[in-house]
């Protein structure tokens, strides 16, 4: 839910503390309800119900006249709880909460009963049944609201600062955007300089510019911001606190510790290139087997008319796709974590084609071979690079998904044997001076951080967002956002966009002096709590529930304590609390028992 959908409560009316006086309103919805349900009978039935002081029916409760009834009854007739039977609460719950607010009553002292979508519209041929059902449902609504406490949105103070972990392009982009937004930013970088993976030389798609110029442009801007602090060679040793108020202990390069305080944390710890196993496609068996980043470096450094390694003129180069990506259990050797990388690394196909073209442009005499499975040149102009490669006489071989080419290191060249789909699955033999391994992307090792921040990781070992569409840069821990390739393979443009999205979430979260939180979280009745701790075992959200020694009614005892900033209000704890000491505010078990009682009664 967007935080702004929780209306501010400025209720001053304390009348709910007095004896309950419930008002019931039954809406006709211009015949939509009243054509099926006998609304007069419902209102009359309810007027006899205990604690109901007023019971009315009206043509359009949502109209301003309808709302005025509610306001007037609260202000002038001593009504302190309201039940409205009408359409779905999703349409007009906020409308009527607004009306209660205007009348000065806490907006949560109102229950909306749905007798349109879930009664009159679905029981058209059963008027008597629909009417009886409506009566039962409205009675249940009265029972619920009688047991309702006023709710106020919980607010936690927010520091207007962000800690960005990692100074690659994702970290720099997020830091720059947060800083431009006026937030104080601290960048914490493990290595000795900023810029991340793109510091290496080499050329990059889609612009063809030098890779290193991308972090350079960003860092120039970042360094010009007065509200940005950067710690390099810094290590995080502990993280405490919660949304709005995190503390990070940072060990600086000089060995001293610094306490960094932040309202939000952006994790931008980036990726590493996959390192092949010894012998995987000839890796480490020859100095002529290179990874793609190594080859790109060589290519950029090579000047003149020939490209050479160790003094040997290179006349042919073969590129191998999917090294460390799209691996298959039982075919490929698992990594240290015991798992194969079954994911696609997304950027390698285009990166390889880009390098192949660059090689051909710089050294047209070189024969270039490309061994791929599916050509994933998906981006805006990537297909053009692929076409250009064909025009540049790059020779393509397509290996079947389950087949693995065999690499033999000869004394003078490298032999690659592969099945080729393009020639009716014929066994092909390619001879090349250099074999370039299109190594995939793996997340950086951030086990410590994962522990400190309780970060969830997916089966692919990348950080796992709550939901790829609903909350794509959030983890379940409020106030922590993820940016860039720590989350999964992305190219430069995608990384920058993702980093800005993490930044906008931090900026929105910290845009006001305090952070409003949903009031529907667990609450503990300390009198009833026996300190058994069963609820703790049920809670999925670390830190949301703790046991604490407290003084209750003059006696010290152990009770459950809820941190509303971390509780999500799922109610998993509620079910295991035998004395019903813990409940979700606004949705208590006593309320539901009473509702079921009212429904079950004849």
């Amino acid at each position: 839910m967007s935080k702004e959908n929780q209306k501010e409560e400025n209720a001053v009316n304390e009348s709910y503390r007095q004896k309950p006086k419930v008002a019931v309103y039954v809406c006709h919805c211009g015949g939509n309800i009243s054509d099926v349900i006998d609304v007069k009978r419902v209102a009359a039935e309810l007027s006899k119900y205990p604690n109901v002081a007023i019971s009315r029916e009206y043509a359009f409760m949502c109209s301003s006249t309808g709302q005025d009834f509610v306001v007037d009854d609260i202000k002038n007739n001593g009504i302190n709880r309201v039940v409205i039977a009408a359409c779905s609460p999703f349409l007009h719950e906020l409308t009527f909460r607004g009306a209660l607010n205007r009348a000065g009553l806490n907006p949560y002292l109102y229950e909306h009963v749905n007798i349109r979508e879930q009664s009159s519209w679905v029981h058209k041929n059963d008027k008597e049944g629909a009417t009886l059902k409506a009566i039962s449902l409205v009675k249940a609504g009265v029972e619920k609201i009688l047991r309702q406490d006023p709710l106020n949105s919980i607010r936690v103070e927010a520091l207007h600062s962000v800690a960005v972990i990692g100074a690659g392009i994702a970290g720099l982009r997020a830091a720059l955007s947060c800083a431009e937004n006026g937030l104080d930013v601290t960048i914490i970088e493990k290595s000795d300089s900023i810029g991340g993976n793109l510091r290496r030389s080499g050329n990059i798609y889609p612009t063809g510019e030098k890779a290193s110029s991308i972090p350079e442009n960003l860092s120039k801007k970042v360094l010009s911001m007065k509200n940005v602090k950067i710690y390099t060679q810094a290590e995080i040793s502990f993280v405490g606190g919660y949304v709005g108020n995190f503390q990070l202990n940072v060990k600086k390069s000089d060995g001293n510790f610094e306490k960094v305080k932040a309202g939000a944390i952006i994790v931008a710890t980036g990726f590493n290139h996959y390192i092949p196993h010894e012998g995987e496609y000839g890796w480490k068996k020859s100095t002529f087997v290179l990874t793609l980043p190594q080859f790109n470096e060589l290519l950029e450094q090579s000047a003149g008319s020939e490209i050479e390694i160790e003094g040997k003129k290179i006349k042919s180069v073969a590129f191998m796709h999917c090294v460390g990506s799209r691996q298959i259990d039982g075919i490929d050797k698992p990594g240290k974590n015991g798992k194969v990388n079954d994911y696609c690394s997304r950027i390698c196909c285009t990166a390889i084609i880009h390098s192949a073209n660059r090689l051909k442009e710089k050294f047209p005499y070189v024969d270039v071979f490309d061994i791929y499975t599916d050509m994933r040149t998906y981006g805006m102009h990537h297909e053009k690079y692929y076409k250009d490669a064909s025009k540049n006489d790059v020779i393509f071989f397509r290996r079947p998904l389950e087949e693995r080419p065999v690499v033999e290191i000869g004394s003078d060249s490298i032999k690659i044997k592969t099945k080729d789909v393009l020639t009716m699955n014929e066994e092909m033999e390619i001879e090349a001076d250099v074999l370039v391994l299109g190594t995939g992307i793996v997340p950086n090792d951030i086990s410590d951080l994962v522990e400190y921040l309780k970060l969830p990781r997916g089966s692919d070992s990348f950080l796992q967002e709550v939901h790829p569409k609903l909350r794509p840069v959030e983890v379940s821990n409020n106030g922590i956002f993820i940016a860039g390739t720590a989350q999964g393979p992305m190219d430069v443009m995608e990384t920058l966009q993702a980093a800005n999205t993490a930044a906008v979430k931090a900026a929105a979260l910290l845009s006001s002096p305090d952070i409003p939180l949903d009031p529907f979280v667990a609450v503990v009745d300390e009198d009833k709590c026996t300190g058994c701790g069963l609820c703790l075992a049920e809670c999925s959200y670390s830190g949301a529930l703790t046991m604490m020694e407290k003084e209750v009614n003059g006696k010290k005892k152990k009770v459950a304590v809820v941190n509303p900033a971390l509780c999500k209000g799922c109610g998993a704890c509620v079910a295991v609390c035998e004395p019903r000491a813990i409940n979700v505010a606004g949705w208590t078990l006593d309320q539901f028992d009473a509702m079921v009682e009212a429904i079950a009664k004849e």
Partner: protein
């Protein structure tokens, strides 16, 4: 149709099955009126005895329409399905046929599935 039929309690979630029930109404489909829908953040909050008490009070059948894999809460669905297993054991002890309690998943537009769950339960409670 107005003779008193055994009552069915339908537990829906704010997140998916309650809007699903609204979608059934918006499509003007119909089902029997002995069906009472309540909504919760997540049915994981109900202890075993909530269901048992509901049966004692005279509810004939209960359908829990959870959000299933769409559930916004961590681990809630697994906990819920384990709890329902416990309830089944309690029901067996009290000789209540376990098909009077059904755990299912209904999405925001699962109109046909919603109707089918109700008609299945109607058959069960009619016996």
């Amino acid at each position: 149709m107005s003779e008193k039929k055994p009552k069915i309690l339908i537990i829906t979630t704010n997140h998916s099955s309650y809007p699903g029930a609204n979608a059934v109404g918006q499509a003007h489909l119909s089902y029997d009126s002995n069906t009472y829908i309540i909504r919760v953040p997540d049915p994981v909050m109900f202890p075993e005895n909530f269901y048992m008490k509901a049966f004692e009070k005279g509810i004939a059948g209960i359908i829990i329409m959870s959000s299933g894999s769409d559930c916004p809460y961590e681990g809630a669905y697994d906990r819920l399905s384990k709890r329902i297993q416990n309830v089944y054991n309690l029901m067996k002890g009290k000789n209540i046929p376990i098909n009077r309690l059904k755990l299912t998943t209904i999405c925001t537009v699962c109109r046909e599935a919603f109707i089918k769950e109700i008609s299945d339960m109607e058959k069960v409670v009619a016996k």
